[in-house]
């Protein structure tokens, strides 16, 4: 909790406990209720909730009043019930499981390739000169543009989806690691030279730890892109997964299913990002703070 926020809470506490006494730091609020209202401060997190919550309430009310057509924008409670029904029927877990599996496999493959190639180009200038121009030019192709080729090569089944997701996860990991390894402070490398570290020790004890924060940033954005591409892959042709649920909802004209899928993507995407962040913080130890 920040100090500013603590102050706010203090002010809030004082206002709520003894509104008659002077409450604001300037001491002007001794009299009327208006001036004591002025010093009411709400914590930042709470401020962020005001608009979403009131939007939800308004949405619910409008939907119930029949202002919003239910096949176009169903009420939040209807969406919640849809999710619940899917969960009870067992469909939800099957689709979520399949999507999570695709993201995990695609991300692992892409991140592994990004780590190997990024480490190679970050460490050896020969590898960088050989590989980096090619990879950089491939990066400028929007990844979705590879879909027809993947479909042609790998078919409509899992492989093409995994390939697309891996491709999305690959570039941020590759770029961040490669650049971070190249940009380790030469002054620190000089310390490594002083202690006569071998090339291997130099990488393990100095270059990798120094590059770690940016590598973790790369992993996080790689994971984000893996989620983006799983949506694309599942929208383009799948018989299962959250993306398939979406397409299904669209085909059958059930907006509640589409919106439920959006929420599922958001929840699981956020959850995996949070997990990755936690792992990153653990790895970075004291540097994270």
């Amino acid at each position: 909790m920040s100090t500013a926020e603590q102050n706010r809470r203090l002010v809030w506490k004082r206002v709520t406990e003894s509104p008659a006494k002077p409450t604001s730091p300037s001491g002007r609020s001794a009299g009327g209720s208006i001036s004591s209202l002025r010093s009411i401060r709400v914590p930042d997190q709470l401020l962020g909730w005001i608009i979403p919550v009131s939007t939800l309430v308004l949405w619910e009310l409008l939907a119930r009043a029949g202002v919003l057509p239910p096949n176009w924008l169903p009420a939040p409670t209807v969406i919640a019930r849809t999710i619940y029904e899917l969960a009870v029927a067992g469909d939800l877990w099957r689709h979520v499981g399949i999507t999570l599996g695709r993201v995990a496999l695609g991300f692992l493959l892409g991140a592994a390739a990004g780590t190997i190639l990024g480490g190679l180009t970050g460490y050896a200038s020969l590898a960088r000169k050989l590989l980096d121009p090619l990879l950089q030019s491939l990066r400028s192709v929007p990844s979705i543009a590879w879909v027809p080729l993947f479909l042609l090569w790998l078919g409509i089944q899992e492989s093409s989806k995994i390939a697309l997701i891996s491709l999305g996860a690959f570039f941020p990991v590759y770029l961040n690691l490669s650049v971070a390894m190249r940009h380790v402070d030469p002054k620190l490398l000089e310390v490594g030279r002083l202690y006569r570290l071998t090339s291997f020790q130099m990488v393990r004890r100095l270059i990798l730890p120094a590059a770690l924060p940016e590598y973790i940033v790369g992993l996080r954005s790689g994971l984000g892109l893996a989620w983006m591409f799983v949506v694309a892959a599942e929208l383009l042709g799948a018989s299962s997964g959250i993306g398939f649920l979406m397409v299904d909802g669209q085909m059958t004209g059930r907006a509640a299913i589409i919106l439920a899928s959006v929420i599922l993507f958001a929840v699981f995407g956020k959850a995996t990002d949070w997990m990755m962040n936690a792992v990153g913080r653990k790895l970075l130890g004291h540097r994270a703070r």
Binding site: L188, E190, L194, Y195, R196, R205, P209, A210, G285, R287
Partner: protein
């Protein structure tokens, strides 16, 4: 001006004559590639530093004093001449020399303890732990063993850097303007500290500085360097007992004579373009 022509291969003394920690510097010249051809950083450097001696090298920016230190450290190897430690020519960095830079250059991902341990080669665990403990105590950071560099002040970070440089028991401790980025009070305390550490360890110390008072306060001998080209102008012994009193008449006199060497009208360095100034 020292004008010397010598054949350095024949003048390399027999290594058996030395006690441990002798630095013998014979540099004919050292140049850097600059934008307008080669820039001469050092010429005609002849200097022998005795075992256990505290030598300060003073000079303005661009006089090559840091380059000289980096040559002794083995970080610069492309020069004409020979620099030897205990009679063995220096061809690269080695654990027989500990180096402290102006910036602490600690590893942000390691604790104080692990930063100090970085300077140790393979040792039995018990001995290793003992050594690390000893040097952390020596620099007075017993209570900060498991802190990270970002939790330390500038002076404390520099203490860790000194412990890291000393933990491998080097014969020579090389310090490149180690206190230049500290505030005046911390700097004075660190000067006392480095003397105390030196007296405890009795390694040879070579300290590069642009602070005349610091040099006179610390050194057995002050090596005064001139600019363009960087060379040794004068070597001045400081015979005062320690701890030295900065207000002492003799201290002031020596400080003034070092000062006068710099501002001797015959040797005021011409203004040089920035490119060559980075070679300090």
């Amino acid at each position: 001006m020292i004008k010397l022509i010598w054949n350095y291969e024949n003048t390399m003394p027999d290594s058996s004559l030395f006690r441990s920690g002798t630095v013998d510097v014979q540099i004919a010249h050292k140049a850097f590639a600059g934008s307008q051809g080669k820039l001469l950083a050092l010429t005609n450097i002849l200097l022998t530093i005795d075992p256990g001696e505290f030598v300060c090298i003073v000079g303005g920016s661009g006089c090559g004093k840091t380059t000289l230190l980096r040559i002794i450290a083995g970080l610069e190897t492309d020069y004409a001449g020979v620099v030897a430690l205990d009679g063995t020519p220096i061809t690269g960095p080695g654990l027989d020399r500990g180096v402290v830079f102006q910036e602490h250059r600690l590893f942000s991902w390691l604790t104080v303890h692990d930063n100090v341990a970085f300077g140790l080669s393979r040792l039995p665990p018990a001995e290793r732990a003992l050594k690390i403990r000893h040097y952390i105590n020596l620099v007075g950071l017993n209570d900060f063993e498991y802190e990270y560099p970002h939790q330390l002040s500038g002076g404390m970070s520099q203490r860790v850097a000194i412990a890291r440089a000393l933990v491998g028991s080097p014969e020579v401790l090389l310090l490149d303007e180690p206190f230049a980025s500290l505030d005046a009070l911390t700097r004075m305390r660190m000067q006392q500290e480095i003397l105390r550490i030196w007296e405890a360890e009795r390694t040879t110390v070579v300290l590069v500085t642009h602070d005349i008072e610091e040099a006179v306060y610390l050194a057995d001998r002050v090596v005064i360097m001139s600019t363009q080209p960087g060379t040794i102008k004068k070597i001045l012994p400081v015979g005062l007992p320690r701890p030295r009193d900065r207000a002492d008449r003799e201290f002031v006199r020596i400080r003034k004579s070092v000062h006068d060497e710099f501002f001797d009208p015959g040797t005021i360095a011409p203004m040089v373009p920035n490119g060559s100034r980075s070679v300090s």
